[in-house]
């Protein structure tokens, strides 16, 4: 592969400590290098903002429930469609675009790596098939363990090492990246139409509590030395007063890892509600941010909502039922044997709904009140809070209190009595945004070790050049330009190739799928465990030999290998 120069770039690379310098970047064989020869092609960045490729650490883009969101929603498919053009395939969909639609839109926004937030192990093959059809981003899959019977049995037996063995076996079998707990215990209870309502409720028939599951899995994760921490969607999502559950969950997190957090809490906006009913729901972002600020061992993402139409989809089946009882639109549910659940309903977040306005404010407050941007990542739980194409608008809101004030005039006027947002005058700067959209994600996911999230020699040449000149712009005032600039890169470079220019994808993609493989001693290899094998054959409806995802599903698979401390 020939070299490439990116010259005259205004670089912010937080991991390398570069805070906004005009620099040249040399690229060879898909990596950033010290220099390439003078004959190499040159991209003149013209002093434009140049960042490592964007990384989304929590998004729903591929797999069974995402595809069902498309399947059940022709009205959403009609709401965003493009014809075949050049190398670009046909796309459909607004809140749940087709795989190519997701890939092109992310690429236009400078995103080069995306983590799928929830993959049911039994249906992993489906997720991987869609990963292959999302060609412009390297993909990773959070793997669901919230209602896993073998895990709950290990938790009940207080056997952390057994839990670690189950995780190691499963991640290797399904080519998953990290441990995801979605409403731990609640998805199993939902198998009977029930739920859990605090971290100390007992899961029916299993004699364990969410708190025990969470604590055990945090320990198991570190025993396996996995790149990412446990990634949790807390219990009681969307319930007024749920901030207490969230604080209780944060309180469970020990500080076990020097490199990154020990617990990642996702879409925290949905978990920061005070009050006791929809009438008195209010923001508890200050309490949550205080807890995060006091504990470097946790990291969060915003779970921002934005006004408009979208589709909610989560493994949290009981939550979707509750939401359906409010919206009465249409409802899908899909429980997965021995593992987890899921649900989908379309929603509309309105500026005239006080509850929606409070939710909108909370997400922004979490980002503004978390002191350390490395602890709070920008995300919408795509598409639950909003489709990811809204990220530029969120960036603009965080960078401009004037923009927030303007919004104040067009939302429910009672909002300010329930939220502190309009008393916060903090405006994030370019560095904060660079951290919250790529560097913090790379660190939190533990993928700097494979060259993600920075631009120093040795890193993957994943680069986003935005048509924004930080020296000439005041984001507090020019927020419309900020929004437009982050929506469409001048260049998106993926592994050393220009993949998108001015909002159009220009080459066929060739992504990688990144997964975690923890090597365990033979006595923890569940393939040799008669009890595990017997239960598998008894209770699953797929034979154990047909369960693992074959290598053919990962044409460019990249495993991060670790040695378990068992």
């Amino acid at each position: 592969m020939t070299g490439l120069w990116v010259k005259n770039a205004y670089v912010i690379d937080p991991i390398s400590g570069i805070m906004g310098e005009i620099m040249d970047i040399a690229i060879r064989d898909g990596k950033i290098v010290e220099e390439v020869n003078d004959g190499a092609p040159v991209i003149d960045a013209g002093g434009c903002l140049t960042l490592p490729g964007g990384i989304d650490s929590h998004s729903h883009v591929c797999g069974t429930k995402v595809n069902f969101g498309r399947y059940m929603s022709p009205e959403d498919m009609r709401a965003g469609r493009t014809a075949r053009k050049g190398v670009m395939h046909v796309t459909s969909g607004y809140s749940v675009p087709t795989t190519f639609g997701n890939s092109y839109r992310y690429s236009s926004m400078g995103y080069t790596t995306v983590l799928e937030g929830a993959m049911a192990p039994l249906e992993a093959r489906h997720t991987h098939e869609e990963f292959t059809a999302t060609p412009h981003q390297d993909m990773l899959a959070n793997t669901l363990f919230d209602g896993n019977w073998s895990i709950m049995e290990a938790v009940r037996d207080k056997d952390v090492k057994r839990a670690a063995a189950v995780v190691a076996w499963t991640l290797a079998a399904v080519k998953g990246f990290a441990i995801k707990l979605t409403n731990p215990g609640g998805t199993e209870a939902w198998g009977w139409g029930e739920d859990v309502h605090s971290i100390h409720d007992e899961v029916p028939h299993f004699g364990v509590t969410p708190a025990e599951i969470i604590a055990t899995m945090i320990q198991a994760n570190e025993l396996l030395n996995l790149p990412h921490s446990v990634h949790i969607h807390c219990n009681n999502l969307g319930v007024p007063g749920n901030y207490q559950t969230t604080l209780d969950t944060i309180g469970l997190a020990p500080d076990l890892n020097r490199e990154r957090q020990s617990l990642y809490l996702t879409h925290v906006q949905f978990h920061s509600y005070g009050g006791s009913t929809w009438q008195d729901i209010c923001s508890k972002s200050e309490e949550i941010a205080r807890a995060v600020n006091a504990r470097p061992q946790v990291a969060i993402d915003m779970g921002q909502i934005m006004f408009g139409r979208t589709t909610t989809m989560t493994a949290d089946g009981p939550m979707e039922w509750k939401l359906y009882m409010l919206h009465r639109n249409k409802w899908s549910n899909h429980d997965v044997e021995l593992e987890t659940g899921s649900g989908i309903i379309p929603v509309y977040y309105g500026r005239k709904s006080l509850v929606n306005c409070v939710m909108w404010a909370i997400g922004l407050e979490l980002a503004l009140l978390t002191k350390n941007p490395w602890q709070c990542m920008l995300a919408t739980d795509n598409p639950n809070g909003a489709p990811f194409v809204k990220y530029p608008e969120i960036i603009a809101l965080l960078m401009s209190s004037r923009f927030r004030e303007n919004e104040r005039n067009v939302i429910d006027p009672r909002t300010e009595h329930f939220v502190p947002l309009f008393a916060i005058d903090r405006e994030l700067d370019w560095y904060d945004i660079a951290v919250m959209t790529r560097a913090a994600q790379a660190k939190a996911l533990g993928i700097t070790r494979i060259g993600k999230g920075y631009l120093a020699p040795g890193a993957e040449a994943d680069i986003a050049i935005y048509p924004l000149k930080p020296d000439e712009l005041d984001p507090a005032v020019d927020y419309q330009q900020v929004m437009a600039g982050f929506a469409k890169t001048a260049y998106t470079i993926k592994r050393g190739r220009v993949v998108a220019r001015d909002g159009e994808v220009v080459v066929e993609g060739a992504n990688s799928t990144i997964w975690s493989r923890a090597d365990v001693p033979p006595e923890y290899d569940l393939n040799q465990d008669a009890e595990f094998v017997k239960k598998f054959e008894q209770y699953y409806t797929v034979r154990m030999r047909n369960y693992p995802v074959q290598d053919v599903y990962l044409p460019r698979g990249l495993s991060i290998r670790t040695e378990a401390s068992l």
């Binding site: 591929c62 069974t64 595809n67 069902f68 498309r70 399947y71 059940m72 929603s73 022709p74 498919m77 469609r81 493009t82 014809a83 075949r84 395939h89 046909v90 459909s92 969909g93 675009p97 087709t98 795989t99 190519f100 039994l122 249906e123 093959r125 489906h126 098939e129 869609e130 059809a133 019977w149 198998g191 009977w192 139409g193 028939h205 039922w321 249409k330 409802w331 899908s332 549910n333 899909h334 429980d335 997965v336 044997e337 021995l338 989908i344 309903i345 008894q538 209770y539 699953y540 409806t541 797929v542 034979r543 030999r545 047909n546 074959q550």
Partner: protein, 429 residues
């Protein structure tokens, strides 16, 4: 040689526990399979090579010539239809969708004549479902509505429902109640605890009555509805409401009888209603082993599960307009590619007649009714026997079928990829 854990490529149950004995490139024995599986593996008599119709007789041609001719027919067509797909693996389906995109064709799968109405109902009200293992491990009430699994999905009851012991249901046969709703007695109704024999076309009314009962409006129910007594409906509603976990499975008796998608919508809304009392799920009994896979693949590429029209560049979907039967009945399409299905046997006569009038290309291992309408047939390997690839079970669980031996036939994927390459070259893109 015996191959274990073989996946059966016949019906939507996608049983993956077969043991198949292979002698060189021939299957000589099947264990654990139903009669349908045995016939699929053992009665596999293939067309030997590509054939082309000239006048009233057939002649043999080479694969290269057949691929060339197939591509040329499609390139020359103004309104090509690519139909079938449910009997092949996902990787081939994926190439099919991209071929349709390139041609500006309509692509449709067999849902169009089976569970298309179910999909339309789901698009109106959603789908509360689950994987089959949820039913096996938990369900104490099973309802089969307009479906006769003993004949059509012979192992459904033993692997997943009536007779399948599970974690919370240790003695399934004793602990489970089975309700069958149908217009006639069947082998399945014979094993039911309650058989609701409904008059033809009466499903919608029965579903509405059950919804009213579940809502607590028993006093609204007349003594008899569609041939069913009020007392039986009360009894059945009570069984459902007292269930710990109930599962409804419905078949073409609901989707293809008067009311069609509205029947299915009513059944889904009954399920939703029951969820206010207990746990209930509903699932279509998908027919072809990979028809659900065709819905999945179409959806992630185009946004729609079937009946996708690329004529205007974008993906456009409107069942009733872009569905195969409607396009053929209107005499609209001027060339058809049939892959892994048999519209000659399943479509209305007017559609079959149109297929016989236009150039119809069939990619299929076997001679079938469609062969007699076709101008060209290209035999291929059978997925699950001498080709492998992804299939989606009726509940959405993806399983990779096995290749049992290296045969001499190319796979659907190979043939379609070559047609795609030729079309792409001709289109200069």
């Amino acid at each position: 040689m015996k191959v274990e854990d073989v996946v059966c490529p016949f019906c939507g149950c996608l049983c993956d526990d077969l043991v198949v004995e292979v002698d060189q490139n021939r299957v000589i024995g099947v264990e654990n399979g139903c009669t349908l599986a045995n016939e699929k593996f053992m009665g596999d008599r293939r067309l030997e090579n590509p054939i082309r119709k000239e006048g009233r007789s057939w002649s043999d041609i080479t694969y290269d010539a057949a691929i060339r001719e197939a591509a040329d027919i499609l390139i020359d067509a103004d309104r090509p239809l690519l139909y079938g797909w449910s009997g092949t693996h996902g990787e081939a389906q994926s190439v099919g969708v991209h071929l349709a995109e390139l041609l500006g064709a309509v692509i449709d799968n067999t849902s169009t004549v089976c569970h298309g109405p179910s999909i339309m109902a789901i698009q109106e009200v959603g789908h509360p479902g689950c994987t089959l293992g949820q039913v096996k491990n938990r369900a104490d009430v099973i309802v089969y509505w307009g479906a006769n699994p003993i004949d059509a999905h012979p192992r459904h009851m033993s692997r997943y429902t009536t007779y399948a012991d599970g974690f919370f249901v240790k003695e399934a046969f004793k602990e489970r109640k089975v309700i069958v709703v149908d217009v006639r007695k069947t082998e399945s109704s014979a094993v039911a605890d309650e058989f609701i024999k409904v008059e033809r076309g009466g499903d919608y009314a029965i579903l509405s009555a059950l919804r009213a009962i579940v809502r607590g409006k028993r006093d609204l129910i007349p003594p008899k509805i569609a041939g069913v007594t009020r007392e039986q409906l009360f009894r059945v509603a009570d069984i459902c409401m007292q269930a710990k976990f109930g599962a409804i499975f419905f078949g073409l008796g609901l989707t293809m009888s008067p009311g069609k998608n509205k029947n299915v919508r009513n059944a889904i809304e009954l399920t939703e209603e029951l969820n206010r009392h207990t746990k209930f799920t509903i699932s279509p009994m998908r027919g072809h082993w990979n028809v659900y896979g065709s819905n999945e693949v179409f959806t992630w590429i185009t946004g729609y599960p079937y009946a996708v029209d690329f004529a205007r560049g974008i993906a456009f979907y409107n069942p009733g307009e872009t569905t195969s039967v409607d396009i053929l009945r209107r005499g609209e399409c001027d060339a058809c590619l049939v892959v892994a299905s048999d519209p000659g046997a399943h479509f209305p006569r007017a559609c079959a007649e149109h297929l016989a009038r236009i150039p119809t290309i069939q990619i299929d291992p076997h001679v079938n009714a469609t062969t007699h309408l076709a101008t060209l047939q290209i035999p291929v390997a059978v997925t699950g026997i001498d080709a492998e690839g992804t299939a989606y079970r009726m509940d959405g669980v993806p399983i990779r079928t096995r290749k049992l031996f290296d045969g001499t036939y190319p796979s659907d994927l190979e043939i379609l990829s070559k047609i795609y390459a030729r079309v792409k070259e001709a289109k200069g893109s």
